[in-house]
Symmetry: C2
Subunit: 378 residues, 2 copies
């Protein structure tokens, strides 16, 4: 090896199967190789590569969650292996080992030198609160749907949601650039409707169109959205790749807050002994990739998340990462007005409540939104 | 709904849990809503949306694989819901339902109108064979590694692998733009070494650098690689997003064959009752996203794939999709020279054999590669 390493290393906590300590250790040591050189260790003679580039098993103990035969391994990697790129960081953390049975990424511990390559959420919790002039209460969000409505119809809904006092109105994640409501037409109309409502109420409601789309068009759509008056962006990093979201957050010409949506990311979390933890995927990686708010299905809706998953996810949105702002958890997925108090006691006030279809149950959408707003102002 | 639908629909086969038929039907019908309008069905009055946009349950039967309490549901969706975008197609297929417990995508059935929006692999099996002047035998591939070697050292390896008669030499998927071997320097040196070897042997070996990287740089790296003499590209769509690969394949100015690598995609396939099947993810979606060859870990290596998974994956690389070329399966993951005959009887001749570290076991890399070549020419 000709290059000089800084000596800085980042750590990844994995859980992996044993069934006993000796077998767990063999798996953990294999993982140190798999995630770096991916080459028979005995054929690597260069001591600098062996010492610097190989992953290092820092600790191995029985998993604290009481699951029989599972172990917690902390592995460290040279920061240089990640090459200051989110794609390559993900690759070192879990590229090949995502294919190994029973291995789960539980959390990342990233040192300042590596984090210096990431700007994280542009606004974060404090910045988004300032944009919305909502210094302490939970923030309120809804989604424009159903898919199939015209841009005109969606804009009418957007206007009502804004008149009712919501803070954030996002496109449903299923609104892309379909003929029902083509992107440019939809964004122009919905942004105008929200601006008009704000003019009437004096509010600061923001419309966040969905810019998830083809690789070459994500940034273009985001910039167009800004020109058309959008106040933020919705991105599904499972569809676009996490780095596409990071690039939007880092784009100074955009300067817009970002909500992330979990579409297609479920496969990383639904199996408790594989994939990536809620804490790491939605919390830590979501923030590294620039999300100011992270949408996910709260427990008790129609999805698979447990209360413990949600608690852990929310903890990840605020876990210390030097230089990276905390994001808002945005529990959703079949939430109802009746559950606002319960969710508030679960998440506290640093939360975005996202209620979709349930707001449409009453005869008067504006009035229902006002009740939603009153529920968090009381 | 103001827009007119064509009436064309695509179908997705899911397996999902019951435990009995009635409960499976309730889940399948919920999925029809979840993947489209994501809105309380009783609140959608518009008959055109109910009839055209809602997913339709086309069939529901006990899963044929004998797994107790699992059911196969075929759901159809209007092609317009996917808006001619791979990101949105993925979203309709499995966006929210990836978050539902126990749901797995088994296969896609895409009609010609929808497929017309995709060009698929630029070369496919026949085209890649023509590029390599290898009309019928298995193709031979290896990877440049370990990470930590300098560009000069990697180029030396590339030259030897090419002299030994390999067809394709790819970067290890862990080589990005690290200081060990920066992208431009590495690609220039390795491409030159392979060209020099070809000049000596009269061969047509191609070097495929890894262009997986930040969202804004994938295309740029690919074009730079072409200028520097690369003969193809390696992409990890799990890191970049599937659509970034599709965009490279569709780029006429590039015109290079693409190998895909499964980094970070493991979480979609490792749990048999969630995620996406090997057939659909690596076969069908890999081809929609433009892969000419699909790297994956063959059974019996150090990963979790079973022989049945591999057989099904390989079937997906050639399953009929009108207008979309078949891709090569590229089994890898700890393969050895000794297993070539076994792999050939498993996959037949339409296969890329990818052997990494094992080629380096002998004293003479060129001679070992020649033995590899002889093994498939015999």
């Amino acid at each position: 090896m000709e290059a000089r390493l800084s000596g800085e290393r980042f750590r990844v906590s994995y859980t992996l199967p044993g069934p006993d300590l000796a077998q767990a250790e063999a798996r953990a040591r294999a993982l140190c190789i798999e995630q770096t050189v991916e080459f028979p260790a005995d054929l690597v003679g260069d001591p600098d590569i062996r010492e610097g580039v190989f992953g290092k098993l820092e600790s191995l103990v029985p998993a604290g969650d009481g699951r029989e035969g599972r172990f917690s391994a902390v592995v460290s990697y040279a920061s240089e292996c990640a090459g200051r790129e989110l794609t390559q960081l993900l690759n070192v953390v879990f590229g090949n080992s995502s294919l190994l049975p029973g291995v789960r990424v539980e959390r990342l511990d990233l040192p300042p030198g590596l984090l210096a390559g990431f700007s994280g959420p542009r606004f974060g919790r404090a910045g988004l609160r300032e944009l919305l002039a909502a210094p302490s209460r939970p923030l309120l969000c809804s989604a424009l749907k159903p898919m199939g409505l015209s841009s005109r119809e969606l804009a009418e809904l957007a206007g009502k949601l804004a008149l009712g006092g919501l803070d954030l109105i996002k496109d449903d994640h299923g609104l892309a650039d379909q003929l029902f409501s083509p992107f440019t037409e939809r964004v122009a109309r919905c942004a105008a409707a929200v601006a008009e409502a704000n003019a009437r109420t004096g509010g600061r409601c923001r419309y966040l169109p969905n810019v998830s789309g083809p690789a070459g068009q994500v940034q273009e759509r985001a910039r167009r959205a800004r020109e058309l008056g959008a106040g933020g962006l919705l991105v599904s990093p499972g569809l676009t790749g996490l780095d596409a979201m990071r690039a939007l957050a880092a784009d100074d010409e955009l300067g817009l807050p970002i909500l992330s949506h979990p579409a297609l990311q479920g496969s990383f979390v639904v199996s408790p002994c594989s994939g990536i933890s809620h804490f790491a995927l939605f919390g830590q990686l979501g923030r590294l990739a620039g999300a100011d708010g992270v949408v996910f299905p709260h427990a008790g809706g129609r999805f698979a998340f447990s209360p413990e998953d949600c608690r852990s996810l929310a903890a990840g949105t605020a876990a210390p990462m030097p230089g990276i702002r905390p994001a808002f958890p945005a529990p959703a997925g079949g939430m109802t007005l009746e559950r606002v108090a319960e969710l508030r006691s679960f998440y506290g006030d640093d939360v975005i409540f996202l209620i979709g279809g349930d707001l449409h149950r009453g005869p008067d959408l504006v009035a229902t939104c006002q009740r939603f707003r009153e529920a968090v102002e009381g």
